[in-house]
Each structure stands twice: as C-alpha cells, then as structure tokens.
Symmetry: C2
Subunit: 283 residues, 2 copies
C-alpha cells in the first residue's frame, strides 16, 4: 500500500515524559525548524493543568533559544475559532501539542479554524510536534483508550478519528513503560494495513516523506501486521480473546529508521546524513 | 535446532493468577494425570506465605477431586533433602509448584534430593505443573527479574539457570498484564535460538513432545527471534538501548498450538483431538 507522506513540514511524535534537562528530543524539535530563534506555539488543550504544562515548556523552549513561546490556551470549542489564536499559529515556526487526553484534542479542535491553521502552517513547512496525547492524535485513526493488560480481547482498544497528519500508521505512546504491545497487536488484527508505531518515553519519531526516523534516548517499537497469516478477530464477540499469528516487530533506537514503502528497517549506515540531520541541527 | 521434548509426563506452565472458581486451568492439570482421584503434591517454596498458599490450593484441588493434597513445606536447603518429602513426592500423580520468587526455588531446590524426586516422577509420567515463579523455573535458562519498563537495555533482564524441565524455550509469566514483551525481545536478541513463551494470567501451556498447546481463558504470546536480521546487543555496554529487527510474535488462545520443530502456529483443526484432550479430561 501507499503510505501518504506527511505534508511539507517535519512531523514529530514523542512517546511522553521527554527529558527537560538534557532535552535531547525537544532541542532537535526546535532544530528541525532551521530557524536560529524559532517562534514556538504550545497547545495545552489536552491537559487538565494547562498553566503548569505551559510554564514547563515555556522554560525549556526559552532555554533552547526560542524567540517567543506562545500560549495557545484553548479550553473549549469556541476558543478554537478565536482569531487571535489563529493569528498566533500563523506566525509559529514550531507548533507543539502537549500531553493529556487525546479525546479532548479531537473533540475541541476537530474541524476548527485553529486545526485548519495548524494544517496550513504544516504545509508551509512549519514543524508540528506532539508528546503523548499530542502524538497519539496525529494519525488518521487514533487510539484513545483500552487497558494494556486487558487488551487482545475484541473491542478492548478504543479508537477514533485523529487529525490525520500522517496516514498508514497508528501511534501509541508510553509504549514500553505501560506494556502496550498487545494494544498494537489488536489494532493490527483489526486492520493489518496500519503500521503500529509504539513510542517509548523519552523517545521520538520524525515522519519524513515515506520514512520514519527514530531519535532520542528511548525505544520505538514498530508493529508490522501486514504479513499476519491468521486471526480469529472477525469471528468473535466483544470481549473474547483474539489470536493473531506472524506479527513482525522491530525495536529501533536513535539513528535507525524504517521505510514505510518497503516495510523494512533502515540502519544508520543506510540513512547516512539523513539520520544525522536532526542531531546536527541542535548542536 | 532440535528442541528437546519434556520427559515422559505432561509439563504445564501457568502465567499466574489462575482462576480458582471456574478453575478451567487447574481442573485440566488434574485431568492430565488420567487418574480419577489423583494425589497432588504442592510445593510452596517460592512463596513468603506458604500456609495461605497451601490452604488455597488444598481447597481447590480437593474440590476438583484430588484424593490427597500433600503439603511439601520446604523452606530451606536442609528441608530439600528430607526423606519424608521425597517419599511424599514419590507417590504424587501431580506435582504443583506455586508462585512467589523463582530464585527461592532454584536456590533451595537446585541439586537437591527433592528436585531429583520431581524429575524421577516426571519421567515416570507424573504431571508437573507450576504457576508464575513455578512456571518460570521450568526452562533451562530462567528469567528472574528486570523491570519491563526498563528492559531492552543491555543487561536489564536478569537470567539464571532454571530446572531444565523443558529446553529450547524461555518462560515468562504475567506477560500481558505486566507488559513484558520487551523482556522477551531482549532475551531473543541475546540468543535467538530460544523461543520466548510469554504466558498471560489465567492462561497456560502444555509442553507435549515437540509441541506447545495453549489452554485457559488468557493469552499466550510466543516470541520467535530465530529470524532476526540485526541487533546491536553485542556492541553495547550494560544499560545501553538495544535494537532488534524482525522479531516474530504470535498471540495464541485456547485450542491453538505451536510446533517447536517447524516453528509455526498450529490451528485447532490441525491439532484435532490433541487440542481437545485436556478439555475432555476434566469434563
């Protein structure tokens, strides 16, 4: 299948709990903007404690050299039509979406002028990055719930429509820390076409054309169900145990990548300058 | 490679937290003895609360029709040479090893007359079954520690020598509930020859000749690293992030099996009477 590349700008998904001291990931996110002093807009809509979350990111992005850190404080749907927020986003070089509850993001931003502004800036080349809920929302189909220890039972993983900033993948976060492998195995059984991208804490992926590049100290687990030979999922009632055979997984670390068109891992030597680019950008 | 079949009797590994009411798994364990009223010996060495654990199993095995439930109360190495315990084990039809700490099991029973008695009864046809720690100890190499959220870092998964009741596999328990997929991915990177057998709670496997048969309400995840194409594990220092590519996984449920010699999943239709046998035995 054809995996649609993200639009023009870089798209970064972070697995949550990214380090703020060394800031290996956040510094690369700013570096991707290719501006010395980028304007960063922070969307805290997913969070129940937006002030605290904004303060934290304002501090780290300022330290990393942002010219301005804009507080896009959208709490309800009427805010998402606010012209001031749209104007702020229009001048952002980096749009950063915080963690929290991804259903708040899609519910409040879905179909809004603010989401249109995000898409417009992205297609003009701005960086869009998100962590945890802000990463999960990026795929066309979004996981929003389902306990990992009770998944692989039909209907256990809850899915809804995401922002569709990248197609052909489904993104899960806090992946190793919360043992969410079985969630992406269930997703793959329901539709083997989607590549599962399970991002660990303090790990990130950059979607670039039809490649995924892993970076940061943590792990990225790819769950490729395209070759599954059998599953009982369509025979079951909700709650019954799912079997699925021949799921392929890859554990990637910083410097490794994956070709979405060839469905294979790319090593650092193959990626060459590409895998180094985000590193160089922030040094 | 040749996977050694277990010795003569059935060997059952349970993923922990097996149900005591419906007792789908425990009733099948007794059924495998092919005795109407089997003698069951319960080894509680792994547990810090042996009385409570023994009382629980005595109740459930009695209800299921055991003629006797023997309390093999081994707390230290000197107990493991006790002739009374050896004599009790010699007349057991089912030897059941409780959960707790698997390192207590290998430390206290390793090289003892009691372990020799267990092996002797097993080779004479007795059922050996264990849950949680009592399952993990069954493989030749045993996992005894390593936090799931910090694994896939070199050296994170702790291994030691187990009882070697089955070769060619490495057993992990509470597998889905504690998200231990990354532990078996790390194990597979260190030695791709071993098939990872990750057993969920209230799930079990029967090792029978060169087959693995899954039963019970939960899931069994098999982690086949034999086809991995690359890993950096030997290049790393302890604590560094491990990459591993092309790991194959299978989620099995009751009625499905796996051929250790062919390394492929067997469906219920292929297993035929074999997959049904343990079910018939307890009805």
């Amino acid at each position: 299948m054809q995996v649609k590349a993200p639009r023009r700008g870089p798209l970064v998904a972070i697995g949550g709990a990214e380090d703020r001291q060394e800031a290996a990931i956040l510094s690369r996110v700013l570096g991707l903007s290719k501006r010395e002093e980028p304007v960063v807009a922070v969307i805290t809509t997913a969070s129940a404690i937006p002030q605290e979350v904004f303060d934290g990111y304002e501090a780290v992005f300022s330290t990393l050299g942002a010219a301005e850190v804009l507080d896009i404080r959208i709490r309800e749907r009427s805010d998402a039509a606010d012209e001031d927020f749209v104007a702020m986003l229009r001048r952002a070089d980096v749009i950063f979406i915080s963690g929290g509850d991804q259903m708040r993001l899609t519910n409040i931003l879905g179909g809004s002028p603010v989401l249109e502004a995000i898409r417009a800036r992205h297609s003009e080349g701005a960086v869009v990055a998100g962590t945890s809920a802000g990463a999960a929302c990026q795929s066309s189909t979004m996981i929003y719930g389902g306990s990992a220890d009770d998944s692989l039972r039909k209907g256990a993983v809850k899915m809804a429509a995401g922002f569709g900033l990248v197609d052909g993948v489904i993104i899960d976060t806090h992946f190793l820390e919360r043992g969410r492998f079985s969630r992406l195995m269930e997703v793959g059984a329901t539709n083997p076409e989607l590549l599962g991208v399970g991002i660990g804490e303090d790990a990130a992926v950059l979607f670039k054309e039809n490649k995924i590049l892993a970076f940061g100290p943590g792990h990225v687990i790819l769950v490729d169900s395209s070759g599954i030979t059998r599953s009982n999922v369509f025979e079951l009632d909700d709650g019954e145990a799912v079997t699925v055979h021949d799921v392929k997984m890859h554990a990637l670390v910083d410097g490794y990548g994956y070709s979405l068109s060839d469905r294979r891992v790319l090593g650092p030597e193959e990626l060459g300058a590409e895998s180094l680019e985000p590193r160089i950008a922030y040094t």
